[in-house]
Symmetry: C2
Subunit: 432 residues, 2 copies
């Protein structure tokens, strides 16, 4: 039921271009509501949080504390099966080890004329992590968002998670403990984002907010951007599979459905040089959908946004993949190297038939927060770099100032910035 | 005329906290106008650009070409004084050499169990650089924005600059030539941003837009964000000078005015442990203002936002500086090391009395595009990293999948994502 695009058709370029610009997200305009909530939290602090949490989440903070206690986290860990704790620990260890390699190094040096130059990296002081409630409350996302902050050395990692009726998924709390989250509050929606950005009596403000959320959370993050930093605003997930003829169609269908089950706006695409394989995959998708618990979501995604693109030769997939700039790209081919070398735009690449994208969602070690909606053309997945910032350092003595000063004065004067010129000239006794 | 804050006063914390949150920018709400312009450029392409350029810049594209020709750039270079060309070349060489050190390295490795992991960096395919017109058309900004793109290996760097009546500052064109800009268009405002983001018949779209601009340009950048990447939205500039008693007040006053002359919203702050020095600096500012061409702007900035903060001991400036998180921080002290070690939040630090901030504006080698308005708490100045993106690479064989698969299946099932679990299980012949 997915669409087919055939490279050898005369209208391929027009259809492919239209396919690229298809919007997969309905963005509700919730800006006015969000602005009201944020202003209210800024004005009334904890009391506003209590009112909204009562109204939206059915929690009464006179009965349950806003902050999740250590004892509650202990109980959540105890309530999680040993097998699951073991899986979380394996994932956390692998994520932590991989991300440790991303930590940028300071670079402090003196150049040929004795000017001291430097790039110094420091961790952000405090980071807020939004975790959605209900069925979108994923322990793996807690690991992926919080562990890079831990690796970066962020001293304060504050998690907010809505708790309908007071309950929080215990596995989420267990993941937070494993990932080194330092504070957890039972809060969701725009009010949680406002509390993180501006602070209240109970919650000290953070400097950056990360994590996925619904339209209200996304609008609130856009709204507070500037006062605090934010991560990307993620759209629906997508996978592109480049497949040669020698694939088991059932393996590929399973991968397409793993993406499609996330969201009706998710997108699963196959590029292949073998029409028969494409047809077999399509049939396998239909077959597997029959027994899938989230079949309704997955079949809507596959029907509305799924695509099979037929190319003449496999290497023709390279320019198409670079234009699609997929969040996830699987290379299900015998010889992935030429494709791997040609791909410039992709959030993450999964190489070979034994690397299903799902491994990257959980235990590969790389981050599963990746650029969606073609933004891999200009942005990267979440990493340690998102939790540090760089300060430039410059140091001149009188000799260096004498050497560089005249050029600075010439440029300043050409820009009409006389006070700039004077700030150098006065130190060189040049007068004006 | 600047305000004084005294650390030993009882109301210091309240006054300092209020000082930190003072807004220095009036943001006009230009969103509706900008949306109309963007929609129009998307719908009508070049014709819309011609109409807006006629209306706003007084240029007729039937008389002057939209694209600046090589011959025009040659003429601009010839019209620029040799002294200025030399200064631009010195600046460019130093900027390029420093930024080359920022290029991130790929990291491709195999872990202990044989999983292939990788971080691969690639340049963005095409970048747009907005350059303001009129007196804010700074050649130094062209170097600072374009050279990191050149170092990153961006193949296409497209500059747009409004040309009132057709004229462009020749030094800006000379700087663009030196910095390796590949295309230049006589365009400004929201229409230029729309053309870069969506493309027209003449201009192919880019993947990211950088550079400063007025309220319309800033609103347009926010609007197209997502379709393309954008750099930070810069606010008014600021400098913080930490000064001991042994300073020449005239040097410090010159530095404060270099900042203040930019914009009435600019901010210049001194922290000192010596009240007499503070008073002497204040007097020197008044004296120097008398002969400054941009005295009107600078005195408004100093009057409205200037501040002298008196601390008991110099090391007390560290926590204050970290809260201010200044774009530019000068350490005008005998022994800068203890301060340097304690500062976590600053865009750039200028160490010692012979490193006026202005050197960093032009010829130091570091970038002058830096985080304003306290955003150094969570973000960094412009660098090569802004022109590259990272792709994660993951590669498993059957052995590795057998080792990691069960944990992925356990986590997927706990998240209710059955298709995720199946995508791994089917490869391990585990069935369901």
């Amino acid at each position: 039921m997915a669409i087919w695009l055939n490279q050898t058709s005369g209208d391929f370029e027009a259809r492919f271009a239209a396919f690229l610009t298809t919007k997969r997200e309905v963005s509700d305009d919730v800006n006015d509501a969000v602005r009201t909530i944020i202003d209210d939290v800024r004005a009334r602090g904890d009391q506003a949080l209590a009112d909204y949490s009562k109204r939206f989440d059915g929690i009464d903070f006179t009965q349950v504390s806003m902050r999740v206690t250590d004892a509650e986290i202990d109980a959540a860990v105890a309530a999680t099966s040993p097998e699951l704790i073991e899986a979380l620990n394996l994932a956390a260890e692998r994520i932590e080890r991989h991300h440790a390699r991303q930590m940028p190094k300071d670079d402090i040096y003196e150049d040929a004329i004795g000017v001291g130059l430097g790039s110094r990296w420091t961790a952000i002081d405090a980071v807020g992590l939004y975790v959605p409630g209900g069925t979108a409350s994923y322990p793996s996302s807690v690991l992926m968002n919080a562990l890079p902050a831990k690796v970066a050395g962020v001293p304060r990692v504050v998690m907010v998670v809505p708790a309908t009726g007071g309950a929080i998924n215990p596995t989420v709390l267990a993941a937070a403990r494993i990932a080194g989250v330092t504070e957890i509050y039972r809060l969701g929606g725009a009010q949680a984002v406002a509390a993180l950005a501006y602070g209240t009596e109970t919650i000290a403000p953070v400097a950056k907010i990360v994590g996925p959320g619904n339209a209200y959370v996304a609008a609130a993050k856009r709204h507070v951007f500037g006062t605090v930093g934010i991560d990307m605003i993620a759209g629906p997930s997508e996978v592109l599979v480049i497949a040669d003829k020698d694939n088991d169609p059932d393996w590929l269908a399973a991968d397409l459905l793993a993406q499609a089950e996330h969201d009706t706006g998710a997108q699963s695409i196959v590029i292949t040089d073998d029409e028969a394989l494409g047809k077999a995959v399509e049939a396998a998708v239909e077959r597997q959908l029959k027994t899938l618990p989230r079949a309704e979501t997955a079949s809507a995604s596959w029907r509305d946004y799924g695509a099979i693109i037929l190319v003449d030769r496999l290497e023709d997939s390279i320019p198409l993949a670079n234009r699609i700039a997929a969040e996830h790209l699987e290379l299900a081919v015998d010889d992935p190297e030429p494709l791997l070398a040609g791909i410039r735009n992709a959030g993450a690449i999964f190489v070979g038939r034994h690397t299903p994208e799902v491994i990257g969602d959980y235990v590969g070690g790389s981050n599963h927060v990746l650029p969606t909606a073609r933004s891999a053309r200009f942005s990267s997945g979440l990493s340690v770099l998102d939790y540090v910032k760089r300060t430039s350092i410059l140091r001149l003595g009188p000799d260096q100032l004498r050497q560089l000063g005249p050029a600075a004065i010439a440029l300043a004067k050409s820009e009409g910035l006389e006070a700039h010129a004077r700030s150098v000239a006065i130190r060189l006794n040049l007068g004006d």
